[in-house]
């Protein structure tokens, strides 16, 4: 089944600025960082230009393409500083097809599962690597939660819709309730979380029944409530899940916002879970006892 021949959607252009500022209570003698902040090129999305600026100026900064095909940035700052700023600015063009909902409604989820072994096509082999447990999505952790969604013979489209609805209904979005080290059992117990928790929940649910699922890191354009001005920097980095359907490819879904991913979304990087693609991680050397972090993201439609 191919989507070729359908009408190309009108491309949308975004200017994306993601800035992170760390301030420390004492000198940091050196900082080593790794960032996944540069949007990758994927079908329906092109990165037209990008720049990652680190301040103080790093003594080293370079990119490479990582195991998953993401652009990964390394930097090292070896002069003393009490403030570190990492700013990524990119221009992105998005013309994403909407998900083939009619086709998804026609395939039982068991066929999706068994289809992973239909051949040794590279795409299938690659997808199969996302069946396994990963550091933050332990195998079996959400099997009980996921089971009611995957009833016998149900279409994969219905399963996705049901899972989105259940996560939306069962969990409350609450910032600050979880950290990057929160585990899925904790999320299940508390029934609250942030986008990465819900993405992990969805990824784990698919994997628990033998479907290949990955974690996607990126951005979503936010729109102000009617009549209000858009707030600068009010956007944030975002995360969602993607499930592999043989012959249709990866289907992205956003459990936080209870919808399939469309062209208001910008994909940055993907991996098995958050731990493969944190926007920014690092090691610092300091006597400082306290640090604060401020993040601002602007995803603005350009032109």
């Amino acid at each position: 089944m191919s989507l070729e021949g359908t009408v190309e959607p009108e491309p949308r252009r975004y200017r994306l600025v993601h800035s992170t500022v760390y301030t420390y209570s004492d000198d940091v003698t050196s900082s080593y960082g790794r960032a996944h902040l540069v949007p990758r090129d994927v079908p329906g999305q092109r990165c037209l230009g990008t720049q990652v600026l680190v301040d103080p100026p790093p003594s080293e900064q370079r990119d490479h393409v990582d195991f998953f095909g993401n652009r990964s940035t390394y930097f090292a700052v070896d002069r003393r500083h009490t403030r570190l700023t990492v700013t990524a600015a990119s221009d992105v063009e998005v013309a994403r097809h909407s998900a083939p909902t009619a086709l998804l409604a026609a395939i039982p989820w068991e066929a999706v599962r068994d289809g992973l072994y239909a051949s040794a096509e590279p795409e299938l082999l690659d997808a199969r690597s996302y069946l396994l447990g990963s550091p933050l999505v332990a195998p079996g952790a959400v099997a009980t939660y996921a089971a009611p969604t995957f009833t016998q013979g149900r279409s994969i489209g219905d399963c996705i819709a049901d899972l989105l609805a259940r996560i939306h209904g069962d969990f409350t979005y609450r910032s600050g309730t979880t950290t990057v080290r929160t585990t899925l059992p904790e999320v299940l117990a508390r029934r609250t979380g942030v986008c990465q928790d819900f993405a992990h929940l969805a990824v784990g649910s698919f994997r628990s029944v033998g479907l290949a699922a990955r974690y996607v890191s990126g951005y979503v354009e936010t729109r102000p409530p009617p009549g209000q001005a858009r707030l600068e920097g009010a956007d944030a980095s975002h995360a969602w899940a993607s499930v592999f359907v043989p012959s249709l490819g990866w289907i992205d879904l956003d459990p936080t916002n209870h919808q399939l991913v469309d062209d208001r979304y910008v994909v940055v990087a993907w991996g098995r879970d958050y731990s493969d693609v944190p926007p920014l991680k690092g090691v610092i050397f300091t006597e400082a006892k306290k640090s604060t972090m401020e993040v601002s993201v602007d995803l603005v439609a350009a032109g």
Partner: protein, 851 residues
């Protein structure tokens, strides 16, 4: 086949293959295999008693060499356990095994190269992707990283064992950061000394060539840009399970041991922090577990690694061997695929069979394992804690059900293996030789395009005769392995082909600091021992209270002893102890009490352990002898420290003998590199502080001349200057002349000024600059000037009431200055890097739900 005599006659092998004797058949009883005949003659000659004595001797030698092994998760070091009877392997058999090991290692290397490169083996379906990608040894951050040269697998170990027919099988491949080569060499050293005659007459392969090859190999893998490659061995530190192995390997190779905190990535390459400068590092022989090696890319909480190491390796400016990805090859789920892989990649049959293995991720494999759970060995593919093997036949029905559930839940993470019979090998037991199950760890190092295999390896046998597991964690014994040969083996003294490099020993601030404290504790132990001995002598003379002057002097000395050793309340203050004898004993043996001799000896040993690779192996002989003497005294005194005279002075003499021997080693066997200089700095500062404290607690008060004379004499004895004093002054001791000798006599190696001269000399020899070093130099000059200007006559003669107030102030200032100097040395040279922390990152919260 040799006839069997008493000891060997009574040896009853197990049911399977035995290394020494053949299985009997019909009327023919078991016979000794020809290559064991010389050894079995020796065993007969020795008899059970002689064998046990050899075993005890081995234990003592290992203790004297400081050979230890730490059980994972324990803070107690255990002595390495070694059986005196070597495993003998016939040359012809080895000649068949060696190429099989080489072939296997080459195959694993080709697999490794592909897994972190094109991943063709997955694409071609030679190995299911889940096998590789689901294993925790597959490090995605290492993708596409290569070391120079044809081989990506630098050092490989393989645990092999025999089936009941005597055929060798691979049990497991150890490729992550294999340990044991150093232990193997130590086993040879000890066994060759315990069975010297047998060793001398035996024609066996030597181990030296393997280490020689490894040394060359480390040079070969260096980045092509470096002309004289610098190599370091990256280790987790003295707390590591196999710290001895690491330090000994480092000394065999001649490359220094470093820890993660000694290294730093700057300007795209790796550097070793050294006193006063940074040294580029070209090759890292890695003994830190991969997941701990770079906190930026892998375990963020690791303090054992170097942030940026993976990036530097990716740039190719440093070669890390084994690479961080090599743990992927330890995956037992690979074993079923190796024969086909060998055919596909090399067009060869696999010569060394693996123990038969089924991967549960495969439908058939899983069905097979679940059906035969009660007779298979089942293990997780992952490495690390909680991943030990389960023996199906030992599990209860409910345990087997639970295991089956876990396998069903995550099939790709489990394998089942056919149990291997394992051969038995004679091992010294309490009643002679007894058979124990054997596993042999072989070692192969990438060299000259292929692999060089250690002739023999590290053999281990089960902890007891009924045990079927052979693991150090389960109390296994090691064995030396002798591979016999018919040709004479000559090991050249000078090994050909080594580059004539002269690598200046890098001394990191961490090593410098440990050396400094090594010097301090050696001196502290000596000072405490001399002080207690001098006071004990006076106590023996005067404790009866018959002589008033003696009694008064004894009281002064007891109080001074408490003060100089800082062991309050002791003999000072209001809650002074009543029982002098038990307090004196405590000052010697209580190792948990700071200020005692035993405490200083313990800290000395700990400091030495931390810098093991810098010290002569004989150091351990000395340290152990002191430890034994102190423990023997503690035992003799009993828990109540009661009535029997435990011979305090005799023990102190033995401790002093040890400390003098240590001083001798330090003076005569150590290169004067910056590490030695800092050791000496520590000793000088400690001695200067001790002498100052000794004077401050004894001579600042004027007493009856008879009392003072006794006190001064003890001070001079304690400061090891009595002979000089008597020769020089030929009179009753006076405070002024004592001050002359102990404070300002530049030629007296016990005087404070002499210590400061030596300190200045040491510091001149270590590189360093910056304001902190200038501050240190300034303080030292000032301190020396103060002593040079001191008018000892005036200080001794100024008395107010009975107090020598000027002297008291002078000594108290001097003590303060010396403490400040010590801090200045630490600030100028040991300043550690700032603590390592994680830069926390969160997916920023926002009100996305407003969407």
């Amino acid at each position: 086949m040799g006839a069997r005599r008493p000891t060997v006659q009574s040896y009853v092998p197990g049911d399977g293959w035995d290394e020494m004797v053949t299985a009997g058949a019909g009327l023919v009883g078991p016979e000794v295999r020809p290559h064991w005949s010389a050894l079995s003659d020796v065993a007969d000659l020795l008899g059970p008693d002689g064998l046990r004595r050899r075993r005890d001797e081995v234990g003592r030698m290992l203790e004297d060499d400081g050979v230890t092994y730490r059980v994972l998760g324990s803070d107690v070091e255990q002595s390495w356990a070694l059986d005196p009877v070597p495993l003998l392997v016939e040359g012809a058999e080895w000649a068949a095994l060696e190429p099989a090991l080489i072939q296997r290692t080459e195959l694993l290397d080709e697999l490794l190269t592909d897994l972190y490169g094109a991943r063709e083996v997955l694409r071609r379906g030679l190995i299911p992707p889940e096998v590789v990608l689901g294993h925790d040894g597959f490090i995605r951050a290492w993708d596409q990283i290569r070391v120079p040269g044809p081989r990506q697998l630098f050092l490989a170990a393989c645990d092999v064992a025999r089936d009941s027919g005597g055929v060798w099988h691979a049990l497991a491949d150890r490729t992550q950061a294999p340990s044991g080569a150093g232990y193997a060499m130590e086993n040879r050293r000890v066994v060759s000394r315990v069975l010297p005659g047998l060793y001398r007459d035996a024609q066996i392969h030597r181990l030296g060539p393997f280490f020689h090859a490894m040394r060359l190999a480390l040079q070969e893998v260096a980045p092509t840009t470096s002309e004289a490659p610098r190599v370091v061995l990256l280790a987790p530190g003295a707390q590591s399970e196999t710290a001895f192995d690491q330090a000994f390997l480092s000394s065999l190779l001649g490359y220094p041991v470093v820890q993660g905190s000694d290294l730093v990535v700057r300007e795209g390459r790796l550097w070793a922090r050294s006193i006063g400068r940074m040294e580029p590092v070209d090759v890292v022989l890695r003994r830190v577990d991969a997941s701990f090696s770079d906190p930026l890319e892998l375990r963020a909480d690791s303090q054992l690694g170097v942030p940026g190491l993976v990036e530097a390796a990716r740039l190719g400016t440093v070669s890390v061997v084994n690479g961080l990805g090599t743990g992927a090859l330890e995956n037992p789920a690979l074993l079923p695929y190796l024969p086909a892989l060998s055919k596909a990649l090399r067009g060869e049959d696999l010569l060394l069979p693996s123990v038969q293995t089924w991967w549960c991720g495969d439908l058939l494999g899983r069905a097979h394992v679940l059906a035969r759970l009660h007779e298979l060995v089942v293990k997780p593919t992952a490495r690390g804690v909680g991943t030990q093997s389960r023996f199906g036949w030992l599990l209860s029905a409910s345990e087997r059900e639970e295991l089956a559930r876990r396998i069903e839940a995550e099939p790709h993470a489990w394998v089942g293996q056919e149990p291997l019979a394992l051969s038995t090998v004679p091992t010294v037991g309490d009643d002679g030789l007894e058979p124990r199950s054997l596993v042999l760890r072989s070692f192969a190092v990438a060299h000259a395009g292929s692999y060089q295999v250690m002739a023999g390896g590290l053999a281990r046998v089960a902890a007891d005769r009924d045990s079927i597991t052979v693991a150090n964690q389960a109390g296994a014994l090691a064995k030396d392995v002798w591979v016999t040969t018919t040709t004479t083996v000559v090991e050249p003294w000078v090994q050909e082909g080594l580059p004539h490099e002269r690598v200046t020993a890098a001394v990191s601030p961490r090593v410098a600091q440990d050396m400094f404290w090594l010097g301090r504790y050696a001196e502290r132990a000596e000072d405490a021992a001399r002080a207690v001995r001098a006071v004990q002598d006076r106590w023996n003379d005067f404790h009866s209270g018959a002589e008033p002057a003696g009694t008064a002097a004894l009281a002064v000395l007891l109080e001074a002893l408490t003060r100089v050793t800082a062991t309050w309340p002791g003999f000072a203050g209001d809650d002074r102890v009543a029982e002098a004898r038990s307090e004196l004993l405590s000052l010697v043996v209580d190792e948990s009490r700071p200020g005692t001799v035993a405490h200083a000896v313990r800290r000395l040993t700990e400091s030495a352990t931390a810098v093991r690779d810098q010290l002569s192996p004989d150091t351990w002989l000395v340290l152990n002898s002191m430890d034994r003497a102190l423990h023997a005294l503690s035992r003799r005194a009993g828990p109540t420290r009661g009535t029997v005279d435990p011979d305090l002075v005799g023990t102190l003499s033995r401790v002093l003998e040890g400390l003098l021997a240590l001083s001798g080693l330090i003076a005569e066997s150590m290169v004067r590199d910056p590490g030695w200089r800092f050791l000496d700095c520590g000793r000088r500062l400690e001695r200067a502080q001790h002498v100052t404290a000794l004077l401050a607690t004894t001579v600042t008060t004027r007493r009856d001349p008879t009392v003072d004379s006794l006190v001064l004499e003890s001070v001079l004895i304690s400061a090891e200057s009595i002979i000089t004093y008597r020769r020089r002054y030929n009179a009753r001791a006076g405070v002024d002349t004592v001050l002359d000798l102990l404070l300002v006599d530049r030629d007296n190696p016990r005087s404070v000024l002499h210590q400061l001269d030596r300190l200045a000399d040491d510091l001149r020899q270590v590189p360093g600059d910056g304001v902190r070093r200038e501050a240190l130099d300034g303080e030292l000059r000032e301190c020396i000037a103060r002593l040079l200007e001191a008018d000892t006559g005036a200080l001794a003669n100024q008395v107010a009431g009975d107090e020598r107030e000027d002297l008291r102030d002078f000594l108290s200032d001097l003590g303060r200055q010396l403490r400040s100097l010590s801090t200045a040395v630490e600030l100028a040279h040991f300043s550690a890097r700032a603590p390592q922390r994680q830069l926390d990152s969160v997916v920023a919260p926002s009100d996305l739900e407003a969407l």
